[in-house]
């Protein structure tokens, strides 16, 4: 059966070239970079090269790159590391309602440990308002953390402006750029970014490796204690195959990025337009233009996301949903609720995220099968345009 992968925001296949390189570092160049013999020295050099490749993707210096085990660890390190290192300066952190759980649950932890966190609301397009950031700043604010691009609806935030505001106020600025790095151009200097989180598996690198960019001069505490690796900021034997894989993936991502973005955006727009034409009563979630090249997110009124998902899966299409049933939690996506969607509408959301390997045919196939699935599910649904679709929906996170 045809299998189409439309879930690139969840993870991506590792590039063949990247995987081949990693093989070499598993079986032949397998040394520990801390060792001073030849097995160790040869891989230490490769780790340094990978650091340079990644730095170049972000317009950073290689000594500003710290490898971690992924985006979640980098988010934890950024927030906890910065908060505890700056405890004496203040205890207030500003973030948003639509962050990934790696940020939100780290903030929960910080709130239990003496910090105060403000969760900014977003508008109906999931966009943070600069005005709200400004208003939230107090003389105790030490950190602002706003994600670069949202993982569910793809909205790209006004990072440069928030970064500039933070810089002016002397507040550190972190951005969780897990969705953006490798898929969208980022320049940490131009964007006034102090700390940036990234994860390799979102741009055709391996799982289990990520990095935190820390601008030179910004001091943070270590979170994982042990050996002196990563200049004592992140202990643990370096995941060398992961690191060289991340470096290579960064290099590949940089090649023809503009072209790749243009191609994927065209597919995305074709899918959006096609669905709007073919399916009544749907709502595009996320910003109409300020969105990630591959990101499509619709709410299909009167139907539920998981059943959409399962039907698509039976047709060979892999997608994702913001419904509670998908995540095993009680509430649907906190992002969709923060955007003002009702629970019912949020439950009917479907995320299709396109990537490098997708083609026009994939989009056309989806445009054939998805409207049919929606129609069938609607025919079994007790809900319709005439039934009431409303509930009260305060953002469950902003209730903090």
């Amino acid at each position: 059966m045809k299998r189409i992968y439309f879930d690139h925001s969840a993870t991506t296949p590792v590039d063949n070239e990247v995987a081949a390189l990693m093989m070499e570092y598993m079986t032949e160049k397998f040394g520990n970079p801390s060792s001073i013999h030849s097995f160790g020295r040869e891989v230490k050099k490769s780790v340094d090269e990978a650091r340079q490749q990644l730095a170049s993707l972000l317009n950073a210096n290689s000594n500003e790159i710290f490898f971690t085990s992924g985006g979640t660890e980098a988010d934890n390190l950024a927030l906890k590391g910065l908060a505890f290192a700056n405890r004496k300066k203040g205890n207030h952190i500003i973030t948003t309602c639509i962050e990934h759980h790696a940020i939100l649950h780290t903030c929960d932890y910080l709130e239990k440990n003496g910090f105060t966190v403000t969760y900014l609301p977003v508008d109906e397009n999931a966009m943070v308002r600069l005005e709200d950031v400004k208003k939230a700043i107090t003389d105790k604010t030490i950190l602002i953390s706003v994600m670069f691009a949202n993982n569910e609806v793809g909205t790209i935030q006004p990072i440069k402006e928030i970064g500039q505001l933070a810089r002016e106020k002397g507040i550190y600025f972190h951005t969780d750029a897990v969705q953006a790095v490798g898929n969208y151009p980022i320049d940490v200097k131009e964007y006034n970014i102090d700390l940036l989180t990234l994860s390799a598996h979102k741009f055709h690198g391996p799982k289990g490796i990520g990095a935190l960019y820390i601008r030179r001069g910004v001091r943070i505490d270590a979170v994982q204690h042990g050996g002196g690796q990563e200049r004592s900021l992140r202990a643990g034997t370096e995941n060398v195959p992961g690191i060289v894989g991340l470096g290579k993936a960064a290099e590949i991502a940089q090649q023809d990025m503009t072209k790749k973005i243009a191609r994927i955006s065209t597919l995305r727009d074709k899918l959006i337009k096609g669905l709007m034409e073919k399916v009544p009563d749907i709502k595009l979630n996320g910003h109409p233009t300020q969105r990630m090249p591959g990101s499509v997110n619709f709410s299909f009124l009167y139907v539920e996301g998981e059943s959409l998902l399962l039907n698509l899966d039976l047709k060979g299409i892999a997608a994702s949903s913001g419904s509670a049933c998908t995540s095993g939690s009680l509430d649907p996506s906190h992002v969709l609720l923060a955007m003002g969607l009702t629970h019912e509408v949020a439950h009917g959301s479907l995320r299709l995220t396109l990537g490098r390997g997708n083609t026009e045919e994939d989009v056309e196939y989806c445009l054939t099968v998805l409207p049919e699935i929606v129609g069938r599910l609607r025919s079994m649904s007790p809900l319709s345009a005439s039934s009431k679709m409303s509930d009260s929906n305060p953002c469950s996170i902003c209730k903090h």
């Binding site: 059943s307 399962l310 049933c325 009680l330 007790p382 809900l383």
Partner: protein
Amino acid sequence: MYTEKVMDHFTNPRNVGEISDANGVGEVGNAKCGDIMRIYLKVEDDIIKDVKFKTFGCGAAIATSSMVTELVMGKTLDEALEISNQAVAEALGGLPPAKMHCSNLAADALHEAIKDYIEKKGK
């Protein structure tokens, strides 16, 4: 994730639809969970002659709705009242734990429909 039986009822749900002259209708579920189930009954001489459902919900919700209609078709009301959500899940070969409390409400909808029938009849 789901058993074969669940997937069978999900992909080929039995007795989907409405009964225009239903004499008992029950609805349960809530928007928080993302599941709303409505059961239509046509009862004659305390026997369920026809049953149909409409469901907004996940795979488990649709499959349990379908299964409950199969289980009660032709049964007496007393027999139907004995069917529990648990029994429906078992008839499907089990459900994932996360789905047990939320999407497994079809028997409740059935009981609501029977209650509705009895109330209407009583009037």
